[in-house]
Protein backbone atom coordinates (compact mmCIF):
# COMPACT_ATOMS: atom_id res chain seq x y z
CA UNK A 1 0.00 0.00 0.00
CA UNK A 2 2.83 2.35 0.90
CA UNK A 3 4.62 1.80 -2.43
CA UNK A 4 1.37 2.31 -4.37
CA UNK A 5 0.80 5.61 -2.59
CA UNK A 6 4.32 6.76 -3.48
CA UNK A 7 3.72 5.69 -7.10
CA UNK A 8 0.49 7.69 -7.24
CA UNK A 9 2.14 10.71 -5.65
CA UNK A 10 4.99 10.60 -8.14
CA UNK A 11 2.88 9.95 -11.22
CA UNK A 12 0.58 12.92 -10.67
CA UNK A 13 3.34 15.56 -11.03
CA UNK A 14 4.80 13.64 -13.95
CA UNK A 15 1.45 13.65 -15.70
CA UNK A 16 1.07 17.33 -14.94
CA UNK A 17 4.47 18.04 -16.50
CA UNK A 18 3.55 15.98 -19.55
CA UNK A 19 0.27 17.84 -19.81
CA UNK A 20 2.12 21.16 -19.58
CA UNK A 21 4.51 20.12 -22.35
CA UNK A 22 1.66 19.10 -24.60
CA UNK A 23 -0.32 22.20 -23.75
CA UNK A 24 2.69 24.29 -24.69
CA UNK A 25 3.08 22.25 -27.88
CA UNK A 26 -0.40 23.43 -28.72
CA UNK A 27 -0.38 26.95 -27.31
CA UNK A 28 3.22 27.85 -28.07
CA UNK A 29 2.74 27.07 -31.76
CA UNK A 30 1.19 30.47 -32.15
CA UNK A 31 4.08 32.18 -30.37
CA UNK A 32 6.57 30.26 -32.50
CA UNK A 33 4.82 31.53 -35.61
CA UNK A 34 5.37 35.13 -34.54
CA UNK A 35 8.35 37.28 -35.51
CA UNK A 36 10.66 39.40 -33.39
CA UNK A 37 10.04 43.00 -34.35
CA UNK A 38 11.75 44.77 -31.48
CA UNK A 39 15.01 46.60 -32.04
CA UNK A 40 16.33 49.50 -34.05
CA UNK A 41 15.33 49.73 -37.70
CA UNK A 42 16.74 52.26 -40.14
CA UNK A 43 14.62 53.28 -43.12
CA UNK A 44 15.42 52.12 -46.63
CA UNK A 45 14.88 55.27 -48.62
CA UNK A 46 14.69 54.06 -52.20
CA UNK A 47 11.11 55.21 -52.66
CA UNK A 48 9.28 58.51 -52.30
CA UNK A 49 6.39 58.39 -49.84
CA UNK A 50 6.22 62.05 -48.95
CA UNK A 51 5.90 63.49 -52.42
CA UNK A 52 8.38 65.65 -54.20
CA UNK A 53 8.14 68.64 -51.92
CA UNK A 54 6.32 70.79 -54.45
CA UNK A 55 3.33 72.62 -52.96
CA UNK A 56 0.82 70.73 -55.08
CA UNK A 57 2.07 67.15 -55.31
CA UNK A 58 -0.76 64.85 -54.30
CA UNK A 59 0.28 62.16 -56.79
CA UNK A 60 -0.62 58.67 -55.67
CA UNK A 61 -3.22 59.81 -53.11
CA UNK A 62 -6.83 58.83 -53.95
CA UNK A 63 -8.37 62.04 -52.65
CA UNK A 64 -12.11 62.53 -52.53
CA UNK A 65 -13.55 65.74 -53.95
CA UNK A 66 -13.71 67.18 -50.43
CA UNK A 67 -10.13 66.15 -49.80
CA UNK A 68 -8.95 67.80 -53.01
CA UNK A 69 -10.70 71.09 -52.29
CA UNK A 70 -9.24 71.19 -48.80
CA UNK A 71 -5.76 70.21 -50.04
CA UNK A 72 -5.71 72.94 -52.67
CA UNK A 73 -6.73 75.53 -50.09
CA UNK A 74 -3.64 74.81 -47.99
CA UNK A 75 -0.78 77.28 -47.81
CA UNK A 76 2.52 76.22 -46.28
CA UNK A 77 2.71 79.66 -44.70
CA UNK A 78 0.44 78.16 -42.03
CA UNK A 79 3.60 76.69 -40.56
CA UNK A 80 4.65 80.20 -39.61
CA UNK A 81 1.80 80.24 -37.10
CA UNK A 82 3.17 79.44 -33.67
CA UNK A 83 0.20 77.28 -32.77
CA UNK A 84 0.70 75.09 -35.86
CA UNK A 85 4.45 74.63 -35.78
CA UNK A 86 4.39 71.59 -33.51
CA UNK A 87 1.10 70.04 -34.54
CA UNK A 88 2.87 66.87 -35.65
CA UNK A 89 1.55 64.01 -37.72
CA UNK A 90 -1.03 61.26 -37.35
CA UNK A 91 0.21 57.73 -36.63
CA UNK A 92 0.67 56.71 -40.27
CA UNK A 93 3.72 58.97 -40.41
CA UNK A 94 5.71 55.96 -39.13
CA UNK A 95 5.48 54.66 -42.69
CA UNK A 96 5.63 57.92 -44.62
CA UNK A 97 8.26 59.80 -42.66
CA UNK A 98 11.99 59.66 -43.23
CA UNK A 99 12.82 58.41 -39.76
CA UNK A 100 13.73 55.00 -38.42
CA UNK A 101 11.90 52.90 -35.88
CA UNK A 102 12.88 52.02 -32.35
CA UNK A 103 10.50 49.27 -31.25
CA UNK A 104 10.32 47.72 -27.81
CA UNK A 105 7.86 45.55 -25.93
CA UNK A 106 6.38 45.43 -22.45
CA UNK A 107 5.85 41.93 -21.12
CA UNK A 108 3.72 40.48 -18.38
CA UNK A 109 6.22 39.66 -15.57
CA UNK A 110 4.35 36.49 -14.60
CA UNK A 111 3.14 35.03 -17.88
CA UNK A 112 5.83 36.42 -20.16
CA UNK A 113 3.41 37.38 -22.90
CA UNK A 114 3.70 40.71 -24.70
CA UNK A 115 1.31 43.32 -23.35
CA UNK A 116 2.28 46.01 -25.83
CA UNK A 117 4.75 47.09 -28.48
CA UNK A 118 5.82 50.72 -28.68
CA UNK A 119 7.34 52.52 -31.64
CA UNK A 120 9.32 55.40 -30.22
CA UNK A 121 8.67 59.03 -31.02
CA UNK A 122 10.74 61.13 -33.37
CA UNK A 123 10.59 64.89 -33.68
CA UNK A 124 7.08 65.44 -35.09
CA UNK A 125 5.91 61.85 -34.53
CA UNK A 126 4.27 60.76 -31.28
CA UNK A 127 5.10 57.37 -29.73
CA UNK A 128 2.80 54.65 -31.04
CA UNK A 129 1.74 51.97 -28.55
CA UNK A 130 0.19 48.78 -29.91
CA UNK A 131 -1.82 47.03 -27.22
CA UNK A 132 -1.60 43.25 -27.52
CA UNK A 133 -3.61 42.30 -24.43
CA UNK A 134 -7.01 42.23 -26.05
CA UNK A 135 -8.31 45.47 -24.60
CA UNK A 136 -11.10 47.13 -26.62
CA UNK A 137 -10.85 50.43 -28.43
CA UNK A 138 -12.31 53.32 -26.41
CA UNK A 139 -15.71 54.87 -26.95
CA UNK A 140 -16.21 56.92 -30.08
CA UNK A 141 -16.50 59.94 -27.80
CA UNK A 142 -13.08 59.41 -26.21
CA UNK A 143 -10.28 61.88 -26.76
CA UNK A 144 -8.43 61.83 -30.06
CA UNK A 145 -4.64 62.18 -30.00
CA UNK A 146 -1.83 62.43 -32.55
CA UNK A 147 -0.94 58.74 -32.19
CA UNK A 148 -4.53 57.55 -31.71
CA UNK A 149 -5.36 54.24 -30.04
CA UNK A 150 -3.94 51.03 -31.44
CA UNK A 151 -4.55 47.34 -30.81
CA UNK A 152 -2.64 44.45 -32.38
CA UNK A 153 -2.99 40.77 -33.12
CA UNK A 154 -0.80 38.19 -34.79
CA UNK A 155 -1.92 36.62 -38.05
CA UNK A 156 0.63 33.85 -38.42
CA UNK A 157 3.95 35.69 -38.36
CA UNK A 158 2.44 39.02 -39.39
CA UNK A 159 1.62 41.60 -36.73
CA UNK A 160 -1.56 43.46 -37.63
CA UNK A 161 -2.27 46.71 -35.81
CA UNK A 162 -5.43 48.78 -36.03
CA UNK A 163 -5.55 52.45 -35.08
CA UNK A 164 -8.50 54.72 -34.36
CA UNK A 165 -8.94 57.98 -32.42
CA UNK A 166 -6.32 59.99 -34.32
CA UNK A 167 -6.58 63.77 -34.51
CA UNK A 168 -7.24 65.35 -37.86
CA UNK A 169 -3.98 66.00 -39.64
CA UNK A 170 -2.30 65.57 -42.98
CA UNK A 171 -1.83 62.70 -45.40
CA UNK A 172 1.05 64.58 -46.97
CA UNK A 173 2.96 67.55 -45.63
CA UNK A 174 1.85 69.85 -48.45
CA UNK A 175 -1.72 69.89 -47.24
CA UNK A 176 -3.57 66.73 -48.28
CA UNK A 177 -5.83 66.40 -45.23
CA UNK A 178 -6.85 63.52 -42.99
CA UNK A 179 -9.95 63.71 -40.81
CA UNK A 180 -10.39 62.56 -37.23
CA UNK A 181 -12.43 59.64 -38.59
CA UNK A 182 -9.36 58.19 -40.26
CA UNK A 183 -8.35 54.65 -39.33
CA UNK A 184 -5.13 52.84 -40.04
CA UNK A 185 -4.35 49.16 -40.49
CA UNK A 186 -0.64 48.54 -40.16
CA UNK A 187 0.88 45.18 -41.08
CA UNK A 188 4.42 44.20 -40.08
CA UNK A 189 6.20 41.67 -42.31
CA UNK A 190 9.72 40.58 -41.53
CA UNK A 191 12.04 38.92 -44.05
CA UNK A 192 15.48 38.37 -42.57
CA UNK A 193 16.87 41.74 -41.55
CA UNK A 194 14.24 43.64 -43.52
CA UNK A 195 11.04 44.78 -41.81
CA UNK A 196 8.25 45.91 -44.12
CA UNK A 197 5.40 48.06 -42.87
CA UNK A 198 2.30 48.11 -45.04
CA UNK A 199 -0.29 50.69 -44.12
CA UNK A 200 -3.88 50.89 -45.26
CA UNK A 201 -5.36 54.31 -44.49
CA UNK A 202 -9.12 54.76 -44.62
CA UNK A 203 -10.81 58.14 -44.35
CA UNK A 204 -14.51 58.42 -45.14
CA UNK A 205 -14.20 62.19 -45.51
CA UNK A 206 -11.07 62.92 -47.50
CA UNK A 207 -10.20 59.66 -49.31
CA UNK A 208 -12.19 58.11 -52.14
CA UNK A 209 -10.74 54.64 -51.47
CA UNK A 210 -8.24 53.06 -49.04
CA UNK A 211 -4.74 54.47 -49.52
CA UNK A 212 -2.16 51.68 -49.40
CA UNK A 213 1.52 52.40 -48.85
CA UNK A 214 4.50 50.39 -47.71
CA UNK A 215 8.04 51.00 -46.63
CA UNK A 216 11.01 48.85 -45.71
CA UNK A 217 13.40 49.17 -42.79
CA UNK A 218 16.77 47.51 -42.17
CA UNK A 219 17.71 46.02 -38.80
CA UNK A 220 20.45 48.09 -37.23
CA UNK A 221 23.02 47.05 -34.66
CA UNK A 222 23.36 50.69 -33.63
CA UNK A 223 20.68 51.51 -31.07
CA UNK A 224 18.30 54.28 -32.02
CA UNK A 225 16.89 56.74 -29.56
CA UNK A 226 13.35 56.00 -28.38
CA UNK A 227 12.65 59.74 -28.34
CA UNK A 228 13.33 62.49 -30.81
CA UNK A 229 14.43 66.08 -30.37
CA UNK A 230 11.72 68.29 -28.93
CA UNK A 231 9.72 70.56 -31.18
CA UNK A 232 10.39 74.16 -30.23
CA UNK A 233 8.17 76.94 -31.55
CA UNK A 234 9.51 80.24 -32.76
CA UNK A 235 7.95 83.55 -33.72
CA UNK A 236 8.31 83.97 -37.48
CA UNK A 237 6.47 87.20 -37.91
CA UNK A 238 2.79 87.96 -38.14
CA UNK A 239 0.75 86.02 -40.67
CA UNK A 240 -2.29 88.20 -40.22
CA UNK A 241 -5.59 87.52 -38.57
CA UNK A 242 -6.55 84.41 -40.54
CA UNK A 243 -4.71 81.21 -41.35
CA UNK A 244 -2.89 81.55 -44.68
CA UNK A 245 -4.83 79.75 -47.40
CA UNK A 246 -5.87 79.83 -51.04
CA UNK A 247 -9.41 80.37 -52.22
CA UNK A 248 -10.89 77.84 -54.69
CA UNK A 249 -9.20 77.90 -58.11
CA UNK A 250 -6.59 80.33 -56.78
CA UNK A 251 -3.74 77.99 -55.79
CA UNK A 252 -0.80 79.34 -57.82
CA UNK A 253 1.17 76.08 -57.67
CA UNK A 254 -1.40 73.76 -59.20
CA UNK A 255 0.50 73.32 -62.48
CA UNK A 256 4.03 73.17 -61.08
CA UNK A 257 4.24 69.35 -61.32
CA UNK A 258 3.15 69.59 -64.95
CA UNK A 259 5.71 72.23 -65.78
CA UNK A 260 8.56 70.53 -63.97
CA UNK A 261 7.93 66.82 -64.59
CA UNK A 262 5.18 66.54 -67.19
CA UNK A 263 2.77 65.16 -64.61
CA UNK A 264 -0.84 65.84 -65.68
CA UNK A 265 -2.83 68.07 -63.38
CA UNK A 266 -5.34 65.31 -62.61
CA UNK A 267 -2.49 63.23 -61.17
CA UNK A 268 -0.93 66.14 -59.30
CA UNK A 269 -4.21 66.88 -57.54
CA UNK A 270 -4.78 63.25 -56.53
CA UNK A 271 -7.65 62.00 -58.66
CA UNK A 272 -8.20 58.34 -57.76
CA UNK A 273 -8.19 57.04 -61.35
CA UNK A 274 -4.60 58.21 -61.76
CA UNK A 275 -3.40 55.44 -59.41
CA UNK A 276 -4.20 52.73 -61.96
CA UNK A 277 -2.21 51.62 -65.02
CA UNK A 278 -4.97 52.44 -67.50
CA UNK A 279 -4.42 56.12 -66.77
CA UNK A 280 -1.27 55.84 -68.93
CA UNK A 281 -3.55 55.35 -71.93
CA UNK A 282 -5.41 58.52 -71.11
CA UNK A 283 -2.13 60.40 -71.04
CA UNK A 284 -0.80 58.86 -74.23
CA UNK A 285 -4.11 59.46 -76.00
CA UNK A 286 -3.29 63.12 -75.82
CA UNK A 287 -6.12 64.14 -73.55
CA UNK A 288 -4.98 67.51 -72.31
CA UNK A 289 -3.92 67.69 -68.71
CA UNK A 290 -6.12 70.00 -66.71
Amino acid sequence: MGSNTVQREMSAPAAAKLAAVLLCLFACRNAAAQMEITGSWVPRSNEFLTGDGLPVDFTGIPLSEEGRIRALSYSESQLAMVERQCQGWPAFYVVQGPFGLKIWSETDPLKGNVISYTIGAWEDRAPLTIWMDGRPHPSQYAEHTRAGFTTGTWEGNTLVAYTTHMKAGFLRKTGAPSSDETTMTLRFYRHGDILILMVIIQDPIYLAEPWILSRSFQLSATPMSPIGPPCVTAYEGSVGETAPHYLPEKNPFVDEMTAKYGVPRDAAIGKPETLYPEYRKKMSAGIPAK
Binding site: G60, I212, M257
Partner: protein
Protein backbone atom coordinates in the same frame (compact mmCIF):
# COMPACT_ATOMS: atom_id res chain seq x y z
CA UNK B 1 -9.24 10.17 -13.78
CA UNK B 2 -6.07 8.85 -15.40
CA UNK B 3 -7.98 7.69 -18.49
CA UNK B 4 -9.58 11.11 -18.74
CA UNK B 5 -6.19 12.83 -18.50
CA UNK B 6 -4.73 10.54 -21.18
CA UNK B 7 -7.68 11.28 -23.46
CA UNK B 8 -7.09 15.03 -23.08
CA UNK B 9 -3.37 14.63 -23.78
CA UNK B 10 -3.99 12.54 -26.89
CA UNK B 11 -6.49 15.11 -28.16
CA UNK B 12 -4.09 17.98 -27.58
CA UNK B 13 -1.28 16.10 -29.29
CA UNK B 14 -3.51 15.49 -32.29
CA UNK B 15 -4.42 19.16 -32.52
CA UNK B 16 -0.80 20.19 -32.14
CA UNK B 17 0.29 18.11 -35.10
CA UNK B 18 -2.40 19.36 -37.46
CA UNK B 19 -0.98 21.09 -40.55
CA UNK B 20 -1.04 24.88 -40.20
CA UNK B 21 -0.92 25.89 -43.82
CA UNK B 22 -4.24 26.50 -45.44
CA UNK B 23 -3.27 24.79 -48.63
CA UNK B 24 -1.13 22.04 -47.14
CA UNK B 25 -1.92 18.72 -48.67
CA UNK B 26 -4.73 20.21 -50.68
CA UNK B 27 -5.74 17.94 -53.49
CA UNK B 28 -2.81 15.59 -53.03
CA UNK B 29 -3.49 11.92 -53.64
CA UNK B 30 -2.57 9.66 -50.72
CA UNK B 31 0.95 8.32 -50.99
CA UNK B 32 2.21 10.81 -53.59
CA UNK B 33 4.85 13.50 -52.99
CA UNK B 34 3.41 16.91 -52.07
CA UNK B 35 4.14 19.34 -54.89
CA UNK B 36 4.79 23.09 -54.44
CA UNK B 37 1.39 23.77 -55.97
CA UNK B 38 -0.36 21.40 -53.58
CA UNK B 39 1.57 22.66 -50.56
CA UNK B 40 1.08 26.35 -51.34
CA UNK B 41 0.40 28.15 -48.03
CA UNK B 42 -1.07 31.14 -49.91
CA UNK B 43 -2.95 31.45 -53.17
CA UNK B 44 -1.28 34.03 -55.42
CA UNK B 45 -3.14 33.09 -58.57
CA UNK B 46 -5.42 35.55 -60.31
CA UNK B 47 -5.27 39.04 -61.79
CA UNK B 48 -3.44 41.75 -59.85
CA UNK B 49 -3.33 45.45 -60.65
CA UNK B 50 -0.48 47.69 -59.55
CA UNK B 51 -1.47 50.54 -57.24
CA UNK B 52 0.73 53.49 -58.14
CA UNK B 53 0.49 55.14 -54.74
CA UNK B 54 4.24 55.77 -54.46
CA UNK B 55 6.91 57.12 -56.82
CA UNK B 56 4.20 58.25 -59.23
CA UNK B 57 6.40 60.53 -61.30
CA UNK B 58 9.06 57.84 -61.74
CA UNK B 59 6.57 55.16 -62.78
CA UNK B 60 3.77 56.79 -64.73
CA UNK B 61 5.66 59.41 -66.73
CA UNK B 62 9.20 59.38 -68.08
CA UNK B 63 11.57 60.91 -65.52
CA UNK B 64 14.19 63.35 -66.85
CA UNK B 65 17.49 61.96 -68.06
CA UNK B 66 19.97 61.81 -65.21
CA UNK B 67 17.28 61.81 -62.51
CA UNK B 68 18.27 58.86 -60.36
CA UNK B 69 16.92 60.33 -57.16
CA UNK B 70 16.80 57.79 -54.32
CA UNK B 71 18.90 55.22 -56.17
CA UNK B 72 22.44 55.03 -54.81
CA UNK B 73 24.47 54.41 -57.96
CA UNK B 74 28.18 53.75 -58.18
CA UNK B 75 30.32 55.98 -60.37
CA UNK B 76 29.96 53.45 -63.17
CA UNK B 77 26.21 53.34 -62.67
CA UNK B 78 25.95 57.12 -62.91
CA UNK B 79 27.92 57.11 -66.16
CA UNK B 80 25.49 54.61 -67.67
CA UNK B 81 22.45 56.60 -66.47
CA UNK B 82 23.86 59.87 -67.77
CA UNK B 83 24.55 58.30 -71.16
CA UNK B 84 21.04 56.87 -71.55
CA UNK B 85 19.93 56.97 -75.18
CA UNK B 86 16.42 55.58 -75.77
CA UNK B 87 16.79 55.83 -79.56
CA UNK B 88 19.89 53.67 -79.42
CA UNK B 89 18.08 51.13 -77.23
CA UNK B 90 15.24 50.98 -79.70
CA UNK B 91 17.58 50.61 -82.68
CA UNK B 92 19.35 47.76 -80.91
CA UNK B 93 16.10 45.96 -80.19
CA UNK B 94 16.39 46.62 -76.47
CA UNK B 95 12.96 48.13 -75.92
CA UNK B 96 12.38 45.75 -73.01
CA UNK B 97 15.37 46.91 -71.02
CA UNK B 98 13.14 48.60 -68.41
CA UNK B 99 10.87 45.56 -68.14
CA UNK B 100 13.40 43.10 -66.67
CA UNK B 101 12.95 41.11 -63.48
CA UNK B 102 14.53 43.79 -61.29
CA UNK B 103 12.02 46.43 -62.34
CA UNK B 104 8.91 44.80 -63.71
CA UNK B 105 6.94 44.56 -60.46
CA UNK B 106 7.36 48.33 -60.07
CA UNK B 107 5.85 49.12 -63.46
CA UNK B 108 2.25 50.33 -63.82
CA UNK B 109 0.93 47.00 -65.03
CA UNK B 110 -1.49 44.18 -64.46
CA UNK B 111 -0.19 40.75 -63.63
CA UNK B 112 -1.75 37.36 -64.26
CA UNK B 113 -0.46 34.63 -61.97
CA UNK B 114 -1.18 30.98 -62.76
CA UNK B 115 0.36 27.59 -62.12
CA UNK B 116 2.09 26.44 -65.30
CA UNK B 117 2.58 23.00 -63.75
CA UNK B 118 2.95 21.47 -60.30
CA UNK B 119 6.40 23.05 -59.86
CA UNK B 120 6.22 26.33 -61.77
CA UNK B 121 4.36 29.53 -61.01
CA UNK B 122 3.84 31.71 -64.08
CA UNK B 123 3.66 35.51 -63.75
CA UNK B 124 2.69 37.49 -66.84
CA UNK B 125 2.49 41.26 -67.26
CA UNK B 126 0.25 43.04 -69.73
CA UNK B 127 2.55 46.09 -69.85
CA UNK B 128 5.51 44.87 -71.91
CA UNK B 129 3.95 41.39 -72.32
CA UNK B 130 6.63 39.75 -70.21
CA UNK B 131 6.52 36.28 -68.67
CA UNK B 132 8.31 35.25 -65.51
CA UNK B 133 8.57 31.62 -64.42
CA UNK B 134 9.11 30.88 -60.74
CA UNK B 135 10.71 27.43 -60.53
CA UNK B 136 10.37 25.45 -57.31
CA UNK B 137 12.98 22.73 -56.64
CA UNK B 138 14.92 24.06 -59.57
CA UNK B 139 18.54 23.36 -60.60
CA UNK B 140 20.94 26.33 -61.02
CA UNK B 141 20.31 28.37 -64.16
CA UNK B 142 21.99 27.50 -67.41
CA UNK B 143 21.71 28.89 -70.88
CA UNK B 144 21.27 32.29 -72.34
CA UNK B 145 20.54 35.31 -70.22
CA UNK B 146 17.06 36.80 -70.52
CA UNK B 147 15.24 39.93 -69.37
CA UNK B 148 13.43 37.87 -66.74
CA UNK B 149 16.44 35.69 -65.90
CA UNK B 150 16.03 32.47 -63.95
CA UNK B 151 13.85 32.55 -60.85
CA UNK B 152 14.16 29.97 -58.07
CA UNK B 153 11.16 29.96 -55.74
CA UNK B 154 10.48 28.55 -52.31
CA UNK B 155 7.60 28.80 -49.88
CA UNK B 156 8.43 30.45 -46.61
CA UNK B 157 6.09 29.13 -43.96
CA UNK B 158 3.71 30.16 -42.74
CA UNK B 159 2.59 32.51 -45.49
CA UNK B 160 5.16 33.93 -47.89
CA UNK B 161 6.86 33.22 -51.20
CA UNK B 162 10.55 33.92 -51.71
CA UNK B 163 11.97 34.23 -55.22
CA UNK B 164 15.65 34.62 -56.16
CA UNK B 165 16.40 35.69 -59.71
CA UNK B 166 19.75 35.56 -61.51
CA UNK B 167 21.00 35.12 -65.09
CA UNK B 168 19.33 38.32 -66.28
CA UNK B 169 20.34 40.61 -69.10
CA UNK B 170 21.39 44.04 -67.90
CA UNK B 171 18.44 46.40 -67.65
CA UNK B 172 16.98 49.55 -66.13
CA UNK B 173 15.43 50.05 -62.70
CA UNK B 174 13.57 53.05 -64.11
CA UNK B 175 12.64 53.82 -67.67
CA UNK B 176 15.10 56.71 -67.86
CA UNK B 177 18.09 54.40 -67.92
CA UNK B 178 18.96 53.90 -64.22
CA UNK B 179 20.94 50.70 -64.70
CA UNK B 180 21.44 47.28 -63.17
CA UNK B 181 24.02 44.89 -64.54
CA UNK B 182 23.65 41.34 -65.76
CA UNK B 183 25.25 40.12 -62.55
CA UNK B 184 22.55 41.66 -60.38
CA UNK B 185 20.66 39.38 -58.02
CA UNK B 186 16.99 40.06 -57.33
CA UNK B 187 15.39 38.72 -54.17
CA UNK B 188 11.64 39.08 -53.80
CA UNK B 189 9.03 38.28 -51.18
CA UNK B 190 5.34 37.96 -51.95
CA UNK B 191 2.88 38.51 -49.09
CA UNK B 192 -0.89 38.81 -49.02
CA UNK B 193 -3.10 41.13 -46.98
CA UNK B 194 -6.85 41.56 -46.73
CA UNK B 195 -8.10 45.07 -47.51
CA UNK B 196 -10.49 46.25 -44.79
CA UNK B 197 -13.95 46.56 -46.25
CA UNK B 198 -13.27 43.94 -48.91
CA UNK B 199 -10.67 42.80 -51.38
CA UNK B 200 -7.16 41.48 -51.20
CA UNK B 201 -3.77 43.15 -51.56
CA UNK B 202 -0.45 41.68 -52.64
CA UNK B 203 2.75 43.16 -51.28
CA UNK B 204 5.92 42.49 -53.26
CA UNK B 205 9.26 43.36 -51.68
CA UNK B 206 12.03 43.65 -54.28
CA UNK B 207 15.68 43.71 -53.22
CA UNK B 208 18.25 44.30 -55.96
CA UNK B 209 21.93 43.68 -55.23
CA UNK B 210 24.36 44.78 -57.88
CA UNK B 211 27.90 45.66 -56.74
CA UNK B 212 28.75 47.00 -60.21
CA UNK B 213 26.14 49.74 -60.48
CA UNK B 214 24.52 49.99 -57.04
CA UNK B 215 25.88 51.08 -53.68
CA UNK B 216 24.16 48.74 -51.27
CA UNK B 217 20.85 47.01 -51.79
CA UNK B 218 18.05 48.76 -53.66
CA UNK B 219 14.80 47.92 -51.85
CA UNK B 220 11.30 48.83 -52.96
CA UNK B 221 7.92 47.51 -51.86
CA UNK B 222 5.02 47.53 -54.30
CA UNK B 223 1.31 47.07 -53.73
CA UNK B 224 -1.25 45.31 -55.91
CA UNK B 225 -4.97 44.82 -55.66
CA UNK B 226 -6.72 41.63 -56.74
CA UNK B 227 -9.20 41.92 -59.58
CA UNK B 228 -12.17 39.66 -60.14
CA UNK B 229 -11.28 38.82 -63.72
CA UNK B 230 -9.13 39.77 -66.69
CA UNK B 231 -11.53 42.27 -68.22
CA UNK B 232 -8.96 45.07 -67.88
CA UNK B 233 -6.06 42.96 -69.14
CA UNK B 234 -4.46 45.04 -71.87
CA UNK B 235 -1.28 43.63 -73.44
CA UNK B 236 1.01 46.30 -74.82
CA UNK B 237 4.53 45.80 -76.19
CA UNK B 238 7.69 47.11 -74.57
CA UNK B 239 8.46 50.72 -75.33
CA UNK B 240 11.39 53.00 -74.63
CA UNK B 241 8.95 55.91 -74.21
Amino acid sequence: MRVFLIAILVTLASIATLPRAAGQGRGTPAGSAVTPKASAPIDLTGYWVALVSEDWRFRMVMPPKGDYTRVALTEQGRKIADAWDPAADEAAGNQCKAYGAAAIMRLPARFRITWQDENTLRVESDYGTQTRLFHFNSPPPTGERAWQGHSAAEWQKPSSLKVATTNMRSGYLRKNGVPYSENAVVTEYFDLAPIPGGGQALLVTTIVDDPLYLQGSYVVTSQFKKEADGSKWDPTPCSVK
